[in-house]
Symmetry: C2
Subunit: 353 residues, 2 copies
DNA sequence: CTGTTAGCGCGTTCAC
DNA sequence: GTGAACGCGCTAACAG
């Protein structure tokens, strides 16, 4: 029924060993025999059975990718990046969504083990997720998005979230905003770093600027919506807001729209990971963005390089996020021309360095 | 190093055959032996090698999912649905993005074959994609989103896109819109059906209503943007527009915003698959939506049921899309209260049945 | 340079 | 009811 290396060998009138050698590109085969084998391969339309191959040579061509939620565009792009390098090297990637649930994550880790995967990329649900079994089994492991507490034996690819927060603060400063607030995520390293980078810059390097309020949300749409609502109750003086996550940014915008606060004339807004196709309705939102596809690619390349005998593990790759300027943070400086034709609620800008 | 069924058997002082029987739930094992085997399994923390198992019993626990673009939320949700049922049945799913390119799709199909997958779910790049190799190899195949021309040997799970188009037309009619336009996608079955359902309803069942213009785009943001631009040049009389795809809906909205056309006061808008987290900035867009997660689940269940000896293939599952009413299509009828406070460009509603 | 042979880990006939 | 032995398809030793 299905054609095996045996059939190829017989048709080429060689042994299966020779056929195997040709398949694996060994140089030590007589050219005419090699040609016969290749002819048989195309004639029979033979494709090697990767399952058998994997069983034999424990090095697997199947990778696993475990993330909290593939519906989040950050992770889908990351997966595309990983897929890019996997395809180039003839690997395939199987997917697991953990929904940030310990149980599901565990389940997929066991599956990965049972499948004898040749590599694992994971955005761990907890910062102490136990990866030791995979690591002990010699599987290359790369942690993305969120660093692990114990990370000597894995490679890590993350964003410099502190720099991301600072970038947002710098931008708001340069555009002349003074009283700013922040809607941050839950107290995990990723969110905390973004907040910390933001606040630290304002406090140390932005004279005359001030973080009037910080509110925490759940990184989801509703969390941003609620946080913005609370913010509107308390701090009326702010002229700009930094939201540390894409979905919360939209929640906040929704709340602002309902409250009748206009962006950017009444309030400047800067978000995080607000990718282009979110920018469709309404004005383009200024945002600090991660290149998640690149992160996926780098993760894949780390997997590949870990295979090499005792290459250095424990490597940390930290990418710097990029500022993408939209229409939600126009300049508030008096020098600029654009500021003139906005509505009347604007105040004059303070002196800027 | 890694524990095999051999180790289990030795520790339980039985043969590997007995150990295997226990693992596979055979009834014909003496209880005390079975208990010893189970004890050994937990003691050694044994996990069966799925690779070896797959090689032996050709029935595979690995599925493949091939879609054009995993970044499209429609497909990510579909994949979550498939994953839901895969996890429940201890399968895993590997992913391939074809980018609608014939070559990439072909490549992933070969990979699926070489991996001896136990099932394939595919949104084919072409309507005549050749799946015969997989089918001949006995792999259950389910086609989603876009039907195949030759579909006797596969199951198909799609949306009733004609009904989706009709739904949009009915809604616009019931809200009192009269002169409507449509931005449709490229001339593939999915897009054509949505357009056809829309136009047909207007022409046959909506007296006084008229499709003033139809423009085709590329299903991407820019396509919607350009199409809306052209539409604004030509047809000034329309009071609502139907866009047959989510990304184009946003492109159109962007063009409208730039042109100073306000939604919904100047123009009603209804889209397709505009999911909730797109609804964040600006007003909520009325939309005809598919339940893509459900489609993924159904696809997975078809895979499972195809395994059963000579179950009926060629089955077609057609889901009806749902209307989600937002704020972009308020009623234009004089009877309603809301119509009163809109700006002056409105005309009085015609008589409605 | 080539062919024969031994497993990789598991499920499954066969005898017992 | 149980165990020994074979083979799934392939690669990597080893002889020749």
């Amino acid at each position: 029924m299905v054609v095996t290396i045996h059939d190829v060998a017989r048709r080429a009138r060689v042994s299966i060993a020779t056929a195997s050698r040709v398949l694996n590109g060994a140089e030590t085969v007589r050219p005419d025999l090699a040609r016969r084998v290749l002819a048989a391969i195309t004639a029979l339309d033979y494709r090697p059975n990767r399952v058998a191959r994997r069983l034999r040579a424990s090095t697997s061509q199947l990778w696993a990718l475990i993330v909290p939620d593939f519906e989040n565009v950050f992770f889908t792009r990351l997966s595309r990046g990983l897929e890019d390098v996997a395809r180039l090297h003839d690997r395939c990637v199987f997917l697991g969504s953990s929904d940030d649930e310990f149980q599901k994550e565990r389940r997929y880790l066991e599956l990965a083990l049972a499948e004898r995967v040749g590599g694992l990329v994971i955005a761990p649900a907890e910062d102490d997720t136990d990866l030791s079994e995979l690591i002990d089994a010699g599987v290359p492991v790369v942690v993305v998005d969120r660093p692990l507490v114990y990370n000597e034996l894995v490679d890590t690819v993350i964003s410099d979230n502190i720099a991301g927060g600072r970038l947002a603060a710098e931008h708001l400063q340069s555009r002349g905003y003074r009283k700013v607030a922040c809607i941050a995520g839950p107290p995990n390293p990723t969110s905390s770093d973004r907040l910390r980078g933001f606040v630290r810059y304002v406090e140390t390097s932005a004279p005359g600027m001030e973080v009037s309020a910080v509110i925490h949300g759940d990184n989801r749409f509703d969390g941003g919506y609620d946080a913005m609502g609370r913010l509107l109750m308390t701090a009326h003086q702010i002229d700009a807001i930094f939201v540390t996550n894409n979905l919360m940014t939209f929640g906040a915008l929704k709340a602002l729209a309902i409250a009748g606060v206009r962006v950017p004339s009444d309030l400047g807004v800067i978000g995080f990971d607000v990718v282009e196709f979110f920018q469709a309705s309404g004005i383009a939102i200024t945002s600090v963005n991660q290149d998640s596809r690149l992160m996926g690619r780098l993760a894949g390349e780390r997997i590949l390089s870990q295979r090499r005998p005792q290459s250095s593990r424990g490597q940390l790759l930290s990418l710097t996020p990029q500022l993408v300027v939209g229409e939600s943070t126009p300049s508030r400086n008096v020098e600029t021309t654009r500021a003139a034709c906005q509505d009347g609620e604007r105040t004059n800008a303070d002196d800027v360095a």
